[in-house]
């Protein structure tokens, strides 16, 4: 428990280093590309275009919430999803990639996942601006319900850090974990209601409820509900899912920080 608070407080005390290194990372990644940072936005836009054509136009099976056109509904959901899936993968590699450097100097290794979380935020904000633009075009305007977005944003960051510290530690020891994670995320993409709303589909009720327990769904659905003004955190079934979500985060965070601290000293020997 003490370990967890220690590691979390390290994130705040080293905030400046995190921000600067995220900036450096961004520059380094795209410096050899002609279009540079534009790729961070071109990539998701192309993806959205494909999904819109397949699910929104060709299949006409998006089943969004009542009264909401498919495109803004999908984009608001896919924005946090693309951010989360990229960050989960990046963060799981973060320690493995930097360990040779970090083990030669005094450096708080526990901030490596945070650097990825902060670094990927740039494209998240741009995508969010794009989804708000789409909403305004479709005559959906800001309401008081948007306040909830702040809460769900915090949920997302905390979830990503908990997963990040856990996955990055496990990846150092078991390299296969990285590949496993990729497959899990690919599967979760279809099970988190990003492209079609399974809550209004023909799925059996029990299956829908099981799918709702998925923490990624909690964040995606929460952001959608707050942006589209369709529900509140304390309403059923959100309340019980909220508790499940936070318990999940707590468990992953405690175990993750514990493992991280236990193996922090021998990361180098473990590779």
């Amino acid at each position: 428990m003490h370990t967890m608070f220690q590691i979390i407080s390290e994130q705040f005390s080293n905030y400046k280093i995190i921000r600067r290194m995220a900036k450096f990372d961004d520059k380094a990644t795209y410096q050899s590309h002609y279009l540079g940072l534009a790729w961070e936005f071109l990539n998701p836009l192309i993806q959205i275009g494909i999904y819109y054509l397949v699910f929104g136009v060709a299949l006409r099976r998006g089943d969004p919430m009542p009264g909401v056109p498919y495109l803004p509904w999908m984009v608001i959901g896919i924005t946090p999803w693309l951010y989360m899936s990229k960050t989960v993968l990046d963060a799981s590699k973060s320690v493995y990639q930097q360990v040779n450097l970090a083990s030669k100097m005094k450096f708080p290794v526990s901030i490596l996942p945070s650097i990825k979380i902060v670094g990927n935020l740039a494209s998240f904000w741009t995508m969010l601006a794009f989804s708000i633009f789409l909403m305004l075009v479709n005559h959906m305007y800001p309401t008081i319900s948007w306040i909830q977005f702040i809460y769900y944003f915090i949920c997302m960051i905390v979830l990503l850090y908990a997963l990040g510290i856990f996955n990055s530690t496990v990846t150092v020891l078991v390299r296969d974990w990285q590949i496993t994670l990729q497959s899990i995320l690919r599967m979760l993409f279809y099970m988190s209601g990003v492209l079609f709303n399974f809550a209004t589909s023909n799925f059996p009720v029990v299956l829908i409820r099981i799918l709702e327990l998925n923490p990624f769904y909690y964040v995606i659905n929460g952001m959608r509900e707050s942006m589209l003004s369709k529900g509140w955190v304390w309403q059923e079934p959100n309340l019980t899912i909220t508790i499940v979500f936070w318990m999940f985060v707590f468990i992953v965070m405690t175990v993750g920080t514990f493992l991280h601290n236990k193996f922090r000293a021998n990361f180098v020997d473990l590779i």
Binding site: M1, H2, T3, Q6, N14, K16, I17, R20, M21, F24, A28, R61, D63, P66, N100, L101, A102, S103, K104, M105, K106, F107, L173, V174, A199, T200, S201, N202, V205, V206, R209, I210, E212, L213, E236, P237, L239, T240, I241, I243, V244, M247, F248, F250, I251, T254, V255, F258, L259, N261, K262, F263, R264, A265, N266, L270
Partner: protein
């Protein structure tokens, strides 16, 4: 012991787990509680010393005696297993493998290392030219480090470490790679550091270098601090030991080393703690209990536990139970109050009657 120190280590030990196979590593990894079947090696068996501001301390000893371990602990790279370490100021360590990223260029390495040490972009830009100049790399600065010669790499590593302006400089055998010109440059820089009143820890096998640079020397011998004091005194004692050791037959030498290593394998940290407590009780005329309590605090007060505490385990278990309960509440579709008053209802899910209504807008 006085209070005006720059670095203080007290009763520091360091334990390494010697995994024999990959599966042993894995079991230890996922075992949250203990890992006792694995043999332990005590690289440090309780070391205490102080370094004052502006002092240059040399660390000498045979290979594998724990010199690098203690310098890594002081620089904050690895945590100690037990004991108290207080370092007042920023440290910077220079080791043989300079800790550079091979795929990045020299310039990017300067930036990255500077950022990791907490410098801002402006501060890095200010020292950048000095670093390039000192390392004498010239046009190679925009080439990836993997194309450098080993001398260039270690020069760059040294240059970065001394230019990020640390209070405490730790040099771990880094001077043995460069040529004479660079060696002289480093010596000048180190002398300049000393003049500025900065603290230096110098790990080396070269007794000549140690004699030239250090005010005091600590001799680490198979995990123990064998002697600490004036440079002349300790170095001559170490020279005598070395020459005596060389005179022995190969078999005797081998046996001596094996014996010492066996002691490091068999070291019992709890017995050591008792010993320290006993001594404390005698020296400071404390009650046994008070001495024990103080010693335990000294040993484990700073160290994050490597075993999960009982409270944490219970909290995690409670969290798992709460999570499963509410997951089942969600799946069964009952209200929370009903689920608490009648838990058996959790296994009988209810289905909303409006299920068919839900589908009308597709």
């Amino acid at each position: 012991m006085s209070e005006d120190y720059k670095i203080k280590v007290e009763n520091v030990t360091k334990e390494y787990d010697l995994y024999r196979s990959k599966s042993e590593k894995l079991t230890s990894f996922f075992n949250l509680t203990r890992h006792d079947s694995v043999p332990h090696f005590w690289s440090l068996k309780g070391i205490s010393f102080e370094v004052k501001q502006g002092e240059a301390l040399g660390l000498i000893g045979v290979n594998g005696s724990g010199k690098s371990t203690i310098s890594n602990i002081i620089s904050g790279i690895i945590p100690q297993t037990t004991g108290f370490v207080d370092v007042r100021g920023d440290t910077s360590i220079v080791a043989i493998s300079a800790g550079l990223k091979w795929s990045l260029t020299g310039l990017e390495n300067i930036r990255l290392k500077g950022l990791m040490q907490g410098l801002t972009f402006d501060e890095i830009a200010a020292v950048r030219d000095d670093i390039i100049d000192f390392a004498d790399i010239g046009d190679f600065i925009d080439q990836p480090v993997k194309d450098y010669s080993s001398g260039m790499r270690s020069r760059l590593g040294f240059a970065i470490a001394v230019h990020i302006n640390p209070d405490i400089l730790i040099i771990d055998e880094a001077l043995s790679v460069g040529d004479d010109t660079f060696y002289q440059k480093c010596l000048d820089k180190i002398q300049q550091f000393k003049k500025e009143g900065k603290t230096i820890i110098f790990v080396s096998h070269s007794l000549k270098q140690v004699e030239m640079l250090c005010d005091r020397v600590a001799w680490i011998h198979f995990g123990d601090l064998r002697q600490i004091g004036d440079t002349k005194e300790v170095v001559s004692a170490y020279r005598k030991f070395s020459s005596d050791f060389k005179k022995k037959t190969a078999k005797e030498r081998d046996e001596y080393q094996k014996g010492k290593k066996q002691i490091q394998l068999n070291f019992d940290v709890n017995a050591y703690e008792k010993e320290v407590a006993q001594q404390k009780a005698n020296d400071m005329s404390l009650t046994d209990r008070e001495a024990k309590r103080q010693t335990h605090k000294l040993f484990y007060g700073e160290v994050l536990p490597s075993k999960m505490t009982t409270t944490s385990k219970w909290l995690i278990l409670a969290a798992v139970i709460v999570m499963i309960f509410f997951a089942m509440v969600t799946i069964s579709g009952h209200s929370i109050t009903k689920s608490i008053s009648d838990p058996s209802s959790l296994v009988h899910p209810v289905y909303p009657k409006s299920q068919s209504d839900k589908q009308h807008f597709k």
